[in-house]
């Protein structure tokens, strides 16, 4: 899933400063799941904006709506009436959702209320971990299902760097595991350490031709 974090309030207030009436648009998929842009967060941000704007933050000046997937034009289209009634849209969706919103309502300024941060999965309640870099050239078959491109801070393909902290923690953050120590342990458990002893040549960074575009071949 896509993980995002809310932008600092100051930045949001600056973006929407010229606009009196704003629609806060949430998304019910990834950003809802990571507690950033679902209906609940839309309500909180909306209330916070009204508090920030004081008297100007009249209740009628913040409109709230959440669609199931903001990256789908058809679903965003459902908001047409609401969008037409406001001066600007503040989207709490991921970058893809925000861009869809901006495309569907070309004549309205659309602003991001969140920063899209990574692809990941929940580690536990309220904690998400980046674990996919969308490189287009999946390497996980060789590393026991742990991505060294993302779980290693330097994206090394051939083993840990020399900076690993005591107990197998990452050079840059003692709260994060060294990806290569994780890979080693996983492969050791599976009796497949020979995979780690192989040399892997430099990665093909053009596996996805940027900007990425995929056309399904099947109809």
């Amino acid at each position: 899933m896509i993980v995002a974090e809310r932008k600092p309030m100051e930045e949001i207030l600056q973006m929407i400063a010229p606009y009196k009436k704003v629609l806060l648009a949430g998304c019910g998929t990834c950003v809802a799941i990571c507690w950033t842009g679902g209906e609940k967060e839309v309500g909180i941000l909306s209330s916070q904006l009204r508090l920030a704007r004081g008297k100007e933050g009249d209740k009628t000046n913040t409109v709230e709506a959440t669609v199931e997937r903001q990256c789908e034009k058809e679903m965003v289209e459902e908001l047409r009436d609401k969008v037409e009634g406001v001066e600007a849209v503040l989207s709490l969706a991921c970058g893809a959702g925000i861009q869809t919103m901006a495309e569907v309502f070309e004549d309205k300024p659309v602003f991001p209320a969140v920063n899209t941060t990574f692809l990941g999965s929940p580690e536990g309640e309220g904690v998400w971990l980046e674990n996919c870099g969308a490189c287009g050239d999946c390497f996980l078959d060789r590393t026991g299902g742990i991505c060294p491109m993302v779980r290693c801070a330097k994206g090394i393909l051939n083993g840990p760097c020399g900076g690993t902290r005591k107990g197998g923690k990452c050079e840059i953050d003692p709260d994060k595991d060294c990806g290569w120590v994780l890979i080693y342990r996983r492969l050791e458990k599976q009796g497949r350490l020979d995979l780690m002893r192989k040399y892997y040549p430099p990665k093909n960074f053009r596996a996805v031709k940027r900007p990425g575009k995929m056309k399904a071949i099947k109809a």
């Binding site: 809802a32 799941i33 209906e39 967060e41 929940p122």
Partner: protein, 543 residues
């Protein structure tokens, strides 16, 4: 159906003098949806009940607002009354104008009282009926652990007509009783026999619980017996998995050897038919690291007496304090003294050293104020009570946490010591901590009473959808499942496609944590829903 509200104001026998009731009524009467506003003297007495009954029926109202004393006193009664009047009890909204208004302030509080009632009125408009229905519960109980607690709980449950299935990991029943001699040991055979004789109790030995799914009234339990796996269903589960003991050396060098042994080893020696030479002098020692545990005193007294009886050895007990404040222990202590067991009390941990194949104990006796040196043939060392082997594994099977020492965590150590965080699963005895005998017996009585009350009617009344996840809004993010303290939520498939969270009304304890945390605002807690809470907030200061 449009909202039609009746408001009853109670002036508590005319005692709430700082509220101008007629004025309150005046302000409420013209509100939208309000059919009438009545002032009564004592709504909690028969006259009040009659007044509510007649007005409710004649006016055919569908929301009842009562401004009276604290809901802690009156809520239950008024809810019952509504039920009698064929009105769903959830259509009742209360304003606490006595404890939290009239009594809490000096001077005229009419305005505040009016506001509190307005809050209740605005909430009442949004209330929806919550249907209730009877759900059948499985009347059988599972008791895990065939030691003293498990056997006694099973016996008592079966005497009350509940059919317990008793699961024991070992090939035979008895648990720790097998390791005890003397008074407690002597209870062993009789108890096992009684359990085995009881037709109502099904005994599964060499068996272990490996999975618990479902909820109170309907637990599906997987049990592995030798190589076979059995699937059974139970209404409630009682864990009596006991403890293990470990010698604690503290910070002084006690090494387990031939001369320094555990209570368990001593019991084995006492049970052995012959002994080459019975020890002449035996020293028991405890309080070296943990002074609070009651367990070493009991084990020591029990076994010291057994030693006296069996071998007639000289027995010395070294400790800081003999803890006799548990049931029956004082008596054992007196008996031990009478039989000649010597008690020596130290302040600083004694020194223990080897002395020509025997063990020398050097201790300062606080009573005599002297240094005492004693050489023993055998020293029985202090033991600490720890969670039984497998507690950790079982707790993950049960999805129930353990405390800092690894014992099962009670739901609330003071209020509900035998209840776990999962409704319908209980812990008794030493699997939930280092308890003295009195506490263990109290645990057994209370768990038996609770399980009996729960299962014997064969059915329980549950609210159908007090807390509900809207399948249209649920995004199956698992947030509520991870957050629910009672493990009452699971993912289910609806219409063969969408996977959504479903809240079991049986297991749910109505805390509302899920409703607050749901990122999609999919969970509604009727009576405490967002709009009902916000309606109260918005009502403040409007009057």
């Amino acid at each position: 159906m449009p909202v039609k509200m009746g408001i009853f104001l109670c002036n508590c026998g005319g005692s709430l003098k700082n509220i101008d009731f007629p004025k309150v009524r005046e302000n409420l009467e013209d509100l939208e949806d309000v059919a009438f506003v009545d002032i009564s003297h004592n709504l909690c007495l028969e006259e009040g009940e009659k007044a509510i009954t007649s007005r409710t029926l004649t006016e055919n109202i569908n929301r009842v607002v009562i401004a009276a004393c604290s809901p802690e006193f009156c809520e239950r009664n008024f809810a019952r009354l509504l039920e009698k009047l064929r009105l769903n009890p959830n259509l009742l909204s209360l304003a606490n104008i006595r404890e939290q208004c009239s009594w809490a302030h000096e001077g005229d509080v009419t305005r505040k009282a009016l506001e509190l009632i307005m809050m209740a009125v605005d909430k009442a408009r949004l209330l929806q009926p919550v249907e209730r229905k009877e759900v059948a519960v499985n009347k059988e109980a599972l008791v895990v652990g065939g030691g003293f607690c498990g056997m006694k709980s099973s016996l008592e449950l079966s005497q009350l007509g509940i059919r317990p299935t008793l699961v024991e990991r070992e090939p035979t029943l008895g648990g720790k009783l097998k390791e005890l001699e003397g008074f407690y040991g002597s209870q062993r055979e009789a108890m096992i026999k009684a359990v085995e004789k009881e037709e109502n109790i099904e005994i599964l030995t060499s068996a272990e619980v490996i999975g618990v799914e479902g909820k109170i009234g309907d637990f599906r339990v997987r049990i592995r017996r030798e190589t076979k796996e059995i699937l059974r269903t139970f209404g409630a589960i009682v864990f009596a998995t006991g403890y293990k003991t470990e010698i604690t050396a503290g910070d002084f060098p006690l090494k387990l050897g031939i001369n320094i042994i555990s209570q368990k080893r001593l019991a084995q020696m006492l049970q052995a038919p012959t002994l080459e030479a019975s020890p002449e002098t035996i020293g028991f020692i405890f309080d070296l690291s943990d002074e609070n545990s009651r367990f070493p005193t009991l084990a020591t007294l029990n076994n010291a007496l057994a030693v006296k009886q069996r071998w007639g050895s000289e027995v010395y007990v070294f400790c800081k304090n003999v803890k006799v404040d548990s049931e029956g222990v004082e008596k054992l202590y007196r008996e031990a003294r009478e039989k000649g067991v010597m008690f020596l009390k130290f302040d600083e941990n004694p020194k223990i050293s080897a002395d020509d194949g025997r063990v020398r104990i050097d201790a300062g006796d606080t009573l005599l104020g002297e240094e005492i040196a004693l050489t023993c043939d055998l020293v029985v060392a202090e033991e600490k009570l720890l969670p039984a082997e497998g507690t950790e594994g079982l707790s993950s099977v049960l999805k129930i946490r353990t405390d800092s020492q690894g014992f099962y965590q009670e739901e609330n150590v003071h209020l509900y010591p035998v209840s776990s965080e999962r409704k319908g699963i209980f812990f008794v005895g030493n699997c939930r901590g280092d308890l003295d005998l009195g506490r263990v017996l109290a645990d057994i009585s209370s768990v038996v009473a609770i399980v009996h009350e729960l299962l014997s009617p064969g059915k329980i009344m549950v609210e159908v959808e007090r807390v509900k996840a809207d399948p249209q809004k649920c995004v199956a993010c698992l947030t509520c499942i991870r957050a629910c303290p009672h493990r009452a939520i699971q993912l289910v498939q609806i219409d063969n496609e969408k996977v959504v969270a479903e809240i079991s009304q049986l297991a749910c304890d109505k805390c509302g944590i899920c409703a607050a945390i749901c990122p999609a605002k999919a969970i509604k807690f009727e009576g405490y829903s967002d709009d009902q809470i916000l309606a109260q907030i918005e009502a403040i200061g409007v009057s």
